[in-house]
Symmetry: C3
Subunit: 336 residues, 3 copies
């Protein structure tokens, strides 16, 4: 794919070469994200940040990534505060807001809405999550994290990964499967309540691509011999009632004791966040917070790198990054 | 009028020379708004963006305009989130917020509130809409659009325009009439349900100024021989009930067929947006979206130019724009 | 205290030398806050502005201060829009958001929450108010204002101050007492309804430190011989019902007539704002708005200086401020 001017809507747009090209640019973003250097490469550019569904983390991550490249951010955070509530079509919103922006990051509760929007947009659009459908930058940062944590420089063929929790409603695990499908001989262990199992069409696609699938409700045996465990929250907001969600909250939990007993000493622990730390859920216990293999916060940090890389590539400034760069002069010692 | 340091509260402040001066500066903003050039002329300046009533489009347009001049934006978007809810007077809010800002753009649901606020402000205030009263930057961008679309370089004397829809509650058509009144021999065709007709005092003023007024409920004949048709949405939020608004939604519609049959081949189609694209309203049909005379998105784009010009003139940097300008180095090809 | 990289959580961290060091830097911020100079010393840095409780004034003040140093601001304004509503711990929020930011300003409705957050943060955190507990930058700007208004260059020993209104629930008067406690021989006159009196533990601390306390319900005699009167709003939102709050609203009022009759001619009038200007409350009357000793808006202005100084010191750029400074080129005449 030629990134220049392209809408980033779906993992389906990517092949393994695209992924490697993106990750190479993400690597170059490290000194900027770690505040060793700063750059003004996008000084004067405006990110239109349209979050028609709340998501503090993803919204700030995109905004921060754009600021770190030197650009400005104009935000909309509520659908009710917008003209959409007065009957405006996505087409009109896109025509207008794309006139104000150089690039747009958009989240919307309706599957397919970001693609519809992008067709009318006059600037590149990055899908920051459209309902249960896609969230490509999350899958990319997840894979980037897997590679960094396992210190894999090339392809990730042969990866042995467990996905745990609400595999039916979790958008991030769907996108991650789509992305891992591009590689060879991945072994997926899918640990979930039977009612919340991974959609059959995704499993079919993975099988067709030659990957190995193991579905189970037994977490303990499922955790054996994994390079990576990817935990997810029960997506309460997708259930018809809180009571129904509560049936599943807390069923699969990883804590220090489970990890020590059932995992490899080097198994990487991931989670797309937020994790539900309330006592009745607590799918990933705080007693692992200091564990060196807990990658969840490095995973969030990597999101900034991936989003910086997506901005740089779609706007075509990935090679000019260093032209306007200089040393950071403020306090950063606590940082890492 | 001397723009420097002036509050922009009402179209009444403008004469035709002011309008021409503003439009000349707006013309200079084109290469910046189109991302051919960027400027840092307002680097370090802060726009206080106070939207005590939701308006994504106008809010982002003002913010974008200020960013394009190199400045920063600090925003407030909800009245309930503000000290006003704790009994603070507009006077206090103005004294405090104007201490944080170099210029303020303010929208408020109450007519006259922005003027009251401006009296206590220590920096220039631009009225971004106060209830049903005024929205001067909208009228200015509308007139700017008319001139650009019709390729009129001087005065717009002799213009033949139809205003269609909710002429009673539509703030933008009131402001536009006030502005057109400054010129000579304009022919206004006012097409609306009789219950939603243009307020009598505005019609009187136009007549007194020598303009020609034709009121009608017959859209088809009303559309004949017009240079410009300006459509508006039924302002549901100003009706006592949705049912009452629904009586009028959908009564006057422009679509491809109506346009071809009743309009001149060059009639310019305008709308202040948002248009209500729901089936029961749909005052301006999507089948005209590709029509070359549909000016509605260029109209929104022009809003950025007008707001940039208002900022530059009130802050006195209109002549320094190019001192800090440089080429844009990122992807902009999809843009126009 | 060494400010570099330090969380600013409580007035308890400060001794009088720290206060003087901070005020010296705040003094240097004057030409920037007054838009005589601009600086880019924090260009490229990001303030994470986390307001989990509404506060337009404080939020904009922090954001403005960071912008004036050349930095960018990423904001979150609503707890319901955040992952906290999905059960995320403050620990997780802190780990993630501190990865996006260079420094964080945080307000939260729960006492102690900002400190808890700071323990997990990888960047300095400034407490912008945690429930009824602390709001250190407010106390610092209040003391800075007292010194400026009374033209005191050194210690404020011997100050004679009256605190008036809701002394039980007003967080700002608690913090101010903590700060004044550091000095010698202060005379506090505490004027409040008996039910809303200053908490006994604060009075005890002040007495132990050798200060003089006079509690009264008689406002008129309480106002005599004061250098400064510090008025506060009845904190309605902390009462069990509006009715209960209304018992106290309007009981203690300062207006032109009261001031002339009972105050010294040079008594400085302060208020943390917002003041409740509704007729039934009106603790500080608008008829004093033009009075030269009404310091309330200079007090708000000083907040920007104090917050700029806190940012500069914790990020260690207080000596580099002028390296990237230049003259302001836009209109600022109305300002002061």
């Amino acid at each position: 794919m030629n990134f220049l001017g392209t809408h980033i809507l779906s993992i389906d747009q990517f092949d393994t070469q695209d992924v490697e090209a993106l990750f190479a640019v993400a690597d170059q973003m490290q000194p900027y994200a770690q505040r060793k250097l700063k750059t003004r490469v996008l000084e004067g550019a405006i990110l239109g940040s349209l979050f028609f569904e709340p998501s503090t983390r993803t919204r700030i991550s995109f905004g921060c990534a754009f600021n770190l490249l030197g650009g400005q951010v104009r935000e909309t955070t509520e659908i009710k505060a917008s003209a959409l509530a007065k009957g405006e079509s996505l087409y009109d919103t896109a025509r207008v807001i794309s006139g104000y922006s150089d690039i747009i990051a958009m989240r919307h509760p309706m599957a397919g809405s970001v693609e519809e929007f992008s067709k009318a947009s006059r600037v590149p659009v990055i899908n920051a999550g459209d309902g249960a459908a896609e969230h490509p930058s999350q899958a990319l940062l997840d894979l980037y994290t897997i590679k960094k944590e396992l210190n894999i420089s090339g392809e990730i063929d042969g990866l042995n990964i467990a996905l745990v929790g609400d595999l039916k409603n979790g958008r991030t695990v769907h996108s991650l499967c789509k992305l891992l499908k591009l590689y060879k001989n991945i072994s997926f262990t899918l640990i979930s309540p039977i009612e919340l199992k991974m959609p059959e069409e995704i499993i079919e696609e993975l099988r067709k691509a030659g990957h190995q699938i193991n579905e189970t409700e037994d977490m303990q045996t499922g955790l054996h011999d994994k390079h990576t465990i990817y935990l997810t929250r029960i997506q309460e907001e997708r259930f018809s009632s809180q009571q129904e969600a509560n049936i599943y909250r807390g069923r699969f939990r990883l804590n220090q004791s489970t990890y020590t007993t059932h995992c490899q000493p080097n198994t990487v622990i991931m989670h797309p966040l937020p994790r539900d730390s309330r006592a009745e859920a607590n799918e990933l216990d705080n007693d692992l917070n200091q564990h060196p293999n807990l990658a969840i916060f490095r995973q969030a940090d990597n999101g900034v790198l991936i989003r910086m890389a997506l901005f740089a590539l779609t706007l075509g400034v990935e090679k000019e990054l260093h032209n306007t760069s200089s040393d950071v002069n403020w306090y950063t010692d606590r940082r890492f």
